[in-house]
Structure formats: C-alpha cells, structure tokens
C-alpha cells in the first residue's frame, strides 16, 4: 500500500492540509486502512524533499502544524501518472506462510493434513464473513468500501480455494511415505523466504 502515491493522488485534486489528507485517505479506502498523523507528515516531508509537493512555508521556522497546506508539483503529477500504470509488484503474499505450514503438515508424522487445512479454512471463512458483513452494512453509495471489501474477499477466496485444491491433491496422492526431500524439485526461493 503506497501511502506516498495515495497522498499525491489526493493532492492532484487541489491543495490540502495535512489533517484533511489523512481524513480523505481513510474515507476513500473505506476506513479499512487507518493511517496515523505521524505517517502522513513523515510522508509529506519526504515528498517535499523529493520535489513532488510544495508546502506554504511562511519561513518563520514553524512547521505550520495541522494548518500547513500542501500542493502537488509538476514532477509529482508525472510520478503519480507513472505509478498508476506500473504493474503492482508481488509483495510476498501472506499465504506464503500458509504454504509452508501445509507443506510441513504434509510431511510431519502424526499430523492430519485435512485437520490443519480446516483450521486455516475456518479462520479464512470467518474473516470473509466479517468483510461480507462490512459490505452488507455499507451504504450502496459507498463504492470505495464495497471495492475494498471485494478486494479482500477475492484474495481470501483464492487462499480458501488453494486449501481445497491442496487437500484434494494430497488425497489423490498414492498412499505410503512421501518421497524423500532430496528427490523433490527445488522450490522457488520466494516460498522459502522467511516471513
């Protein structure tokens, strides 16, 4: 989640105060991503240092506090435009840890894979119930909230479907001891990366 570019997007609509930026950010992300004031000002300082925004600095050494206004620069607009079109980088999704757990459960003696999978499935479905209710209780006009809830629901749904597929695959495997680890193809490094 790029707070930096979200702030640039808000400033592309016109000059705004720091506190105002924080409120608008939370409104537009359906309040699912709360942001603290310190984060907002720290990010604004960096944007200003990089020449992407300017502030109305009155030169008295005071930082202006919550009433200090910010505006986007030409370079800031270029940066925002480039970011919108840059493919989102796969930032090691949280299910990677789940992949490791399921891989371990598959090999560990005395562990029932289906039971381990079900514990995670239930947890994910309970989270999905929360996001669904969030969407259900939201005003139909609140497109942002619906959109954010859908994003989480589709992501969690994909993980549940992976668990279903993992369980089915393990069931179809021939009975007996799993093959020794050394004979297995190497996993891509990312899966093994510690989280």
């Amino acid at each position: 989640m790029s707070v930096r570019h979200a702030l640039l997007a808000l400033l592309s609509e016109g000059p705004k105060y720091g506190l105002q930026l924080r409120t608008e950010f939370e409104d537009r992300t359906g309040e699912v991503w709360p942001l603290n004031v310190g984060q907002v000002y720290q990010t604004l300082q960096r944007l200003e240092r990089d020449g992407l925004v300017t502030s109305d600095d009155d030169g008295d050494g005071d930082d202006g506090g919550p009433q200090k206004g910010f505006r986007i620069t030409g370079a800031g607009r270029d940066e925002l435009d480039a970011w919108l079109r840059t493919p989102a980088i796969d930032v090691a999704p949280p299910r990677d840890e789940l992949v490791i757990k399921v891989l371990v459960a598959l090999r560990l003696p005395g562990v029932d894979l289906a039971e381990v999978v079900q514990v995670h499935r239930r947890h994910l479905v309970e989270l999905m119930q929360q996001y669904t209710r969030l969407k259900e209780d939201a005003s139909p006009d609140d497109v942002s909230l619906g959109l954010v809830a859908d994003a989480e629901l589709f992501r969690l749904d994909a993980v549940v479907r992976w668990l279903d597929a993992a369980e089915a695959r393990a069931r179809q495997a021939p009975p007996g001891e799993p093959a020794p680890v050394t004979s297995r193809p190497r996993l891509p490094r990312r899966i093994g990366a510690g989280r």
């Binding site: 309040e31 942001l35 079900q118 479905v125 999905m128 119930q129 996001y131 259900e136 749904d157």
Partner: protein, 240 residues
Amino acid sequence: MSALDVRAVTKTYGEGTTAVHALVDVDLTVEPGEFVAVMGPSGSGKSTLLTIAGSLEEPTSGSVRVGGRDLAALGRRGRERLRRREVGYVFQDFNLLAGLSAAENVALPLELDGVPAGRAAATARAALDDLGLAEGLDRFPDELSGGERQRVAIARAVVGERRLLLADEPTGALDSANGEGVMRLIRAVGARGVATVVATHDAQLAAWADRVVFLRDGRMVDRTGARPDPATLLGTGTEA
C-alpha cells in the same frame, strides 16, 4: 422452537461392501431467521443433507424436525403438505416454468396448495414487491436475466407462510454481482424470519451466512462461531 432440527442423521446408499455413506451422524439446528451455510466439496453430502432436511428423502437413521414436527411421525401425506406449505427450495438451475410469467411462477405453489387464483396472484405480487422485484412481474423467464430468474425463484420459494428456505448452490453460474444480489435477497428473506440453509462449495457465498458448517465425506467436521462483528476489522491501525 427451532425452524430445523437435524439429529444424528445418517444416510447410507447400498449395502455391505458397496455401501456409500453419504451422511454420517450429522447434527444441524437452525433457528427462525438464521442463515446457515453448509460448505463442502462435491460429494461431501451437502445436497443429501438438504434433500433430507426438506423431506425429499428419508434418512437411514436419525431424526429431522421442521418447525418442531418430526418428519417421520408426519406420514407421507403430512410430509407432502409440509413441502407444499412450509418449505421452499431453490436449485442451481432455476426451475421456473417457461410458459408462466414471473408473477405466475411465484403464484404457482399457492395455487397448487388450493389458494384461489385471484388471491394467489395478489399474494405473489406482494411477495415480489416486498423483495424489491416489482419490475418485470409480467415478463417470462426467457426475458429475465440469470440473476433476475434466480431472485424470482427465491421469491417463489418463500411465498406464503414458508419458514424454511433450502438452497443448493443458488448462485450457480451467475457472475459475482448477480450472485451478490441473490445473497442479499436471501438475507432480506432471513430478516423476515425465514430460516435458510444454503449448500455451497463457494466461500464467498458461504461468507454471507450467520454460521458456516463444514462437511467432509458426510461428516460435519467443523463450524464457524457466530457471525463476527466487522468492527474488529476497523480500528486496527497504528494510531495510539
């Protein structure tokens, strides 16, 4: 009194070494207005559970009560009456009659139950209107979209005094927006006191339910807690 009370239900097809255990010692209680999703892969027994809960099939052992009445004690005629008056079914393929308009489809179960045509039509229109389906009352199924057809099928399933709605993969091949419309309608029906059981393999559908129970190989292996409060998703920020 529970709307549905399934106790220790087992369903076995065939005998001896070829026996298939579709359900094994399943318990499920659903209160009026409650929405329960039965989640499991195909072959897990969820459709069998619905047909037994709706008295379309009899369990090998165990008991089923609908609105407090034991189905086994009702007899065949009693079960038929219960199916006509108190239980609504929705299946994946919409099952609307092509030669009847939306309103006529909804009126049909009432007419089959002996309600005079005029009163059945008025009740059907009121039910459709009540569920926000007043548009297109006189259109025929082939003039409705998939989502509209399924919403009409739900209205038909709950028209009159039906207290139990049983739906098997009710969003079938619908896209996600139409699927959501169907689930919102099911929740609206629940708010009117109808108990609902939806069988699905789809977590996004199951997530609309108050409770989710998980079936594997005919056994109920797990369940979620009560529907969690979404407030716990908010206020999880870093602000002191």
